[in-house]
Amino acid sequence: MSQAVPLYAQLINLLAAVILLLGFAMLAQRRVIQLIDLFALQGFALFLSTLVVAVKTGQHHLFYSAGLTLVLKVILLPWILHRLVRKLHIKGEVEGLINIPTTTLIGLGLVIIAFNVATPISQLSSTITRGTLGIALATVMLAFLMMITRKKAITQVVGFLAMENGLFLAATSATYGMPMVVELGIALDVLVGMVILGVFFFQIRDQFDSLDIHHMEQLKE
């Protein structure tokens, strides 16, 4: 194991680590605009890692996946989000339900859990990039945590999309990609979901004059 790790594997591991780091950064980020930028950055790292896998394995559909990632996660979605923020005049701090240091500490715990859960699986993997599965799981969990701790609807959406990133990382890096049909389907779903969300935001703002989700705590019991 300790022999020379191939370059592409090093690259993938590096990129995976970057994605995880960005996940933390998002967790700690207070401002909406920066959050979206971080998300775009994460998407870019994801694109790169997919590209590396694609180059290594030479699977065509992975190139498409990479392209899709680039278009969707790096360009389209951040753009939509930015537009939304501008149109809806979302400003200022993203208040959390729990303060940032605590959140990051919990996140650390989650990473440990994720790695532990993923370890037995990774050892079975034939791919060299098996370690990324743990990172992907950690990314998913961090995104989950972000959704739990944030109050604004839009940050929840970013969290949701970040979760999708984690999943995508798992799909591409750990398994060298799902079947093309599936990936296309997933991408389509994400896109449609985003569009619907956009529609939704306007409806929500019309009704509540705010995108703060604490307005939406009326349905109980």
Binding site: Q59, V117, P120, I121, L124, S125, S126, L133, A136, L137, V140, F144, M147, A153, Q156, F160, M163, E164, L167, A170, A171, A174, T175, Y176, M178, P179, M180, V181, V182, G185, I186, L188, D189, V192, G193, I196, L197, V199, F200, Q203, I204, D206, Q207, F208, I213, H215, M216, E217, Q218, L219, E221
Partner: protein, 485 residues
Amino acid sequence: MTLDFFALTLLIPLLSGILLSFAGERHWAPHLNIIASAATFLSAAGLTAEIIDQGPRFAFGEQFFIDSMNVFFVTLTAFVGMTTAIFSDPYMKNDRSHGKLTPARLRLYKSMYQLFMCTMLVALTTNNLGILWVAMEAATLTTVLLVSLYRSPASLEAAWKYFILCGVGIAQALFGTILLYFAAERILGESGTALLWSHLVEVKGQLDPTIMALAFIFLLVGYGTKVGLAPMHNWLPDAHAEGPTPVSAVLSGLLLNVALYAILRCKVLADGALHTDFAGNLMMGFGIFTLLAAAFFLGRQRDVKRMFAYSSIEHMGIITFAFGMGGPVASFAGFLHMTMHSLVKSAIFFAVGHAAQKCGTQIMEDIRGLKRINPLIGWGLMLGTLAILGMPPFGVFASEFMILTHAMKFHPWATPFLLLGLGVAFASILAKVQPMVFGESEAKPLPHAPAITPVFVHLGLALMMGLWIPPYLSRWFLEAARMLG
């Protein structure tokens, strides 16, 4: 054979959905909605006949396949889809007369309704677990706008929660699917077949147990969110209560089933890989917890649709428990219960929908004397409620009888919990429904006569199944139960 029933079953709702999205406000659109649903049902029935006749088959390469397990769901889905379409015609017209809806939203409703049916049918018939996931997500997406159709603050809130919670849930399911692929890929290779259920099931014994256990956890929590398993059920009462009633009916009667179907497919693989009762135990645990939680929720409800949404959660708990027990008898009972729940619960929602429209409220304390306003609606609601509470001679009792007796035999520890849940649910629901149906009232008639036939067709079927399950149906259930192992 030139007429491919399968293709028709999927294409009719898809095409009519697209058509309705352009022409949904025309005066013939409601009829189109009904006709399309009826045609879907007919072709599903044709498909069923074909499957009974010729055995399982594949379609579109190996991407779709129909066996005795899913063809039964397909028929059920198409049937309830048809009756709901019939029901929704006067319902939506009434809503429109009351000024709650605009033509544009009606168009959205009809289009999305058909697309929703399509996604469910795809989810049911696909052989590819990835596509299954995609279809499930698409089902969420198509219904999310239906839930917020009234654009009221409450409905928006409900839709938002529905979207986020189910989205997150389904994301977990995706992780599970990826893990599954990860496990399968090592055996089936990187060919596109590694997510095809028909291939997976043949090699299920070779799948890595550790991965499969993890995958099943993710899939269970993920799809379980859509099933409404506690404590991931929170979206369900909101979405049911705030959406239009036809949507509540199909969500409760169909979508939950489809999500559970997805879990069942995965359970087969997990069982095969693990050789233990791990998956079954998890499902039983979730089932019992869901049942109990929902039962105690019921007592404090004020909104009638919300209450019946909790009742759906409760029944999903029972069904999950039944499938968790496994074995031909319990699975048979599970399928029977799913069928009964679909039929009866949608019938209840039909009746409730009309009742709420008549009384102009969903708050139960303000709905009184339905029997006096409209005896058929009143009796429909009363009988439906009693049926769903497991009173014989309705079919829900038959399945609950089998589940209980099976549990007594193999899992006696669970019996008290089951009974507690059922008892509390009985007490809570009956206490609320009885004064709604009986008593005095002075509500005005509605501009459009309600469609009562679907209610009684559903209840009639439920009654029949309580006393006599047609042999071909029971063969069908048995075969499906055998497939679950």
